[in-house]
């Protein structure tokens, strides 16, 4: 948990101080590890709300969550940054 939340702390500088941030749910179904990763992102990035959906201006794509051959859920988003641990931040093209 300590390692995971440290990985997501890196997003702090790229995100607004408050508000809702999207989080891409795993493309192949949830399990305890993927749930833990989402919760760790939320724990690290409070007081932002890390919602498990696509739509907000910023979208966190944690490692292994997007379909490797290209994920259609990312349509309309462009990559902003890649962080240690393989997590990525996307931003919506049109607000």
């Amino acid at each position: 948990m300590a390692r995971l939340q440290a990985e997501f702390q890196a997003f702090v500088w790229e995100l607004p101080a408050t508000g809702v941030v999207g989080y891409l749910e795993p493309y192949d179904g949830s399990n305890e590890d993927t749930v833990r990763m989402h919760y760790a992102a939320q724990y690290a990035l409070a007081p932002r709300v890390v919602a498990g959906r696509v739509g907000p201006e910023f979208l966190i794509v944690a490692r292994g969550m997007a379909r490797p051959e290209g994920d259609e859920r990312l349509a309309g988003y462009y990559p902003v940054a890649t962080f240690p641990g393989g997590h990525r931040l996307f931003r919506r093209l049109v607000p």
């Binding site: 948990m1 300590a2 007081p47």
Partner: protein, 464 residues
């Protein structure tokens, strides 16, 4: 960590002084019990002032620390002034009590009991340190619920309500633990993992001090009870968990200790008896301000106080009890009616009376719940404590029916009804029952464990 420790100790010291000023320490009580009650009262009251300052007024950071320190220093000065007025009388009573109860020489059996407690406690402390090193952010619920809410409070102040949108963080759960962590983080000036760990450790010590203190540390059985209390591995794990179950356990057992009828029978004057009821009500209220399960304690304990008041009089007793519980209950009402009017996570908004009644009267569901609970029942506490829970529950039940256990009867009944409440929740919840019982049984039973130990070792009718 020094700042956090100062933040923890300031309200505790103020409550300690207030207890002394109100003459809440009586001769048969111990400093350990007084210290435990001061710790619980200090943490509980300061959590209320923290929610008021942070969540209502949006005061965070150094401004919060300044306001909080001024508030508690002023309260401490007032309590100190009151204590000095009554110090001569108190000293005379203390001297008389000391002369009446000279310390007895310890036998080999007394020393053995104390050494056993020391050895068991040392193993528990080693387990706590090991758990903290392995998981400095605590168990799953600590960072998914309790410490996360503390982060929202300390980072966002009155905007902490954004956290209510996070379903898994249990929006309706009360705020004693998150507010206490947020307060100590503010004093520390950083979100140190050691702060919630220290809070858990403080509650662990307070539980041991309350139970041993209530059973009179001069008696060997108090130390045996202390060893039995700490021995199950789950006790140390819950101390290190940074969740709210162990704090709930403390408030439950402390409230039940202060509800002892013997305190009045030992000749407390009216002022001290009222203050004891006030304090008992306050601690019961804090159980509910820590976790929803505490509301069951408040309901049952209020009935016990009402029954005693109706039977022995005066009815004013109930007023003192209610006045003690009122601050926490007002805070709970504000949270549940105004801020987060949603059902607890183990129930569903879609549930109707019909669906819940169908679950409650389903023989098949009762069979499944009873079967799952029985599996956890025998294994509760870890490998070193296999079978300890059934044994202690049976012993507590026997104690409640014995003449020598009369004093513990209301505590035993309260524990029994609380357990029945947990069972009813398992039956009524729409959640996956295997998952629900598997993830909650051990935690819920630790809330009742100290009270069970207290009941079992209360034979003789004088102390609990």
């Amino acid at each position: 960590m020094t700042g956090a420790l100062l933040g923890l100790l300031l309200p505790v010291a103020v409550v300690w002084i207030a207890l002394t000023a109100l003459r809440l320490r009586v001769p048969a009580d111990s400093r350990a019990l007084t210290a435990a009650v001061a710790l619980g009262g200090g943490i509980g009251l300061s959590s209320l002032s923290t929610v008021w300052l942070m969540a209502h007024w949006g005061i965070t950071g150094i401004r919060f620390v300044a306001a909080d320190a001024c508030l508690w220093t002023a309260l401490g000065a007032a309590a100190w002034w009151h204590m000095r007025r009554t110090s001569a009388e108190r000293q005379a009573r203390s001297d008389a009590a000391a002369a009446a109860n000279p310390p007895a020489a310890l036998t080999a059996a007394d020393w053995l009991a104390r050494a056993t407690f020391g050895a068991v406690a040392a193993v528990a402390v080693a387990t706590i340190v090991t758990e903290y090193v392995a998981s400095p952010h605590g168990q799953w619920d600590a960072w998914a619920i309790w410490n996360q809410k503390a982060r929202f409070l300390v980072r966002a102040g009155d905007q902490w309500t954004a956290s209510l949108a996070i379903g898994w963080s249990q929006p309706s759960h009360p705020l004693l633990v998150p507010a206490s962590v947020a307060r100590m983080w503010s004093y520390a000036g950083a979100e140190l993992t050691g702060v919630p760990a220290m809070l858990g450790f403080a509650f662990g010590i307070a539980i041991v001090a309350a139970v041993v203190g209530a059973l009179a540390p001069s008696r060997t059985r108090a130390w045996i009870a202390g060893a039995v209390l700490v021995a199950p591995g789950i006790f140390a794990q819950q101390v290190a968990a940074q969740t709210a179950d162990l704090p709930t356990a403390f408030f439950v057992v402390a409230a039940l200790i202060l509800l002892r009828p013997e305190r009045r029978a030992r000749g407390l004057d009216a002022e001290a008896a009222h203050a004891t009821l006030l304090l008992g009500g306050m601690l019961a209220g804090f159980a509910a301000w820590t976790k929803n399960e505490g509301l069951v304690l408040v309901a049952i304990a209020t009935l016990v106080v009402a029954w005693r008041a109706a039977r022995h009089g005066p009815m004013r007793q109930l007023t003192w009890w209610a006045a003690g519980a009122a601050p926490a209950l007002v805070a709970i009402a504000w949270l549940k009616l105004d801020v987060a009017p949603v059902p607890a996570g183990y129930f569903s908004e879609a549930d109707t009376v019909t669906t819940m009644a169908a679950r409650m009267f389903s023989a098949e569901r009762h069979a499944v719940v009873a079967s799952l609970a029985a599996q956890h029942w025998t294994h509760w506490g870890g490998p070193r404590a296999m079978g300890a829970l059934p044994l202690m529950m049976a012993a507590a039940a026997v104690m409640a029916f014995m003449r020598s256990g009369r004093a513990a009867r209301s505590a035993a009944a309260t524990v029994g009804i609380m357990f029945a409440g947990y069972y009813a929740t398992w039956v009524l919840s729409p959640l996956d029952i295997v998952w629900l019982i598997g993830t909650s049984f051990d935690r819920l039973l630790i809330q009742l464990w100290p009270s069970m130990v207290l009941v079992v070792f209360s034979f003789g009718g004088r102390d609990a």
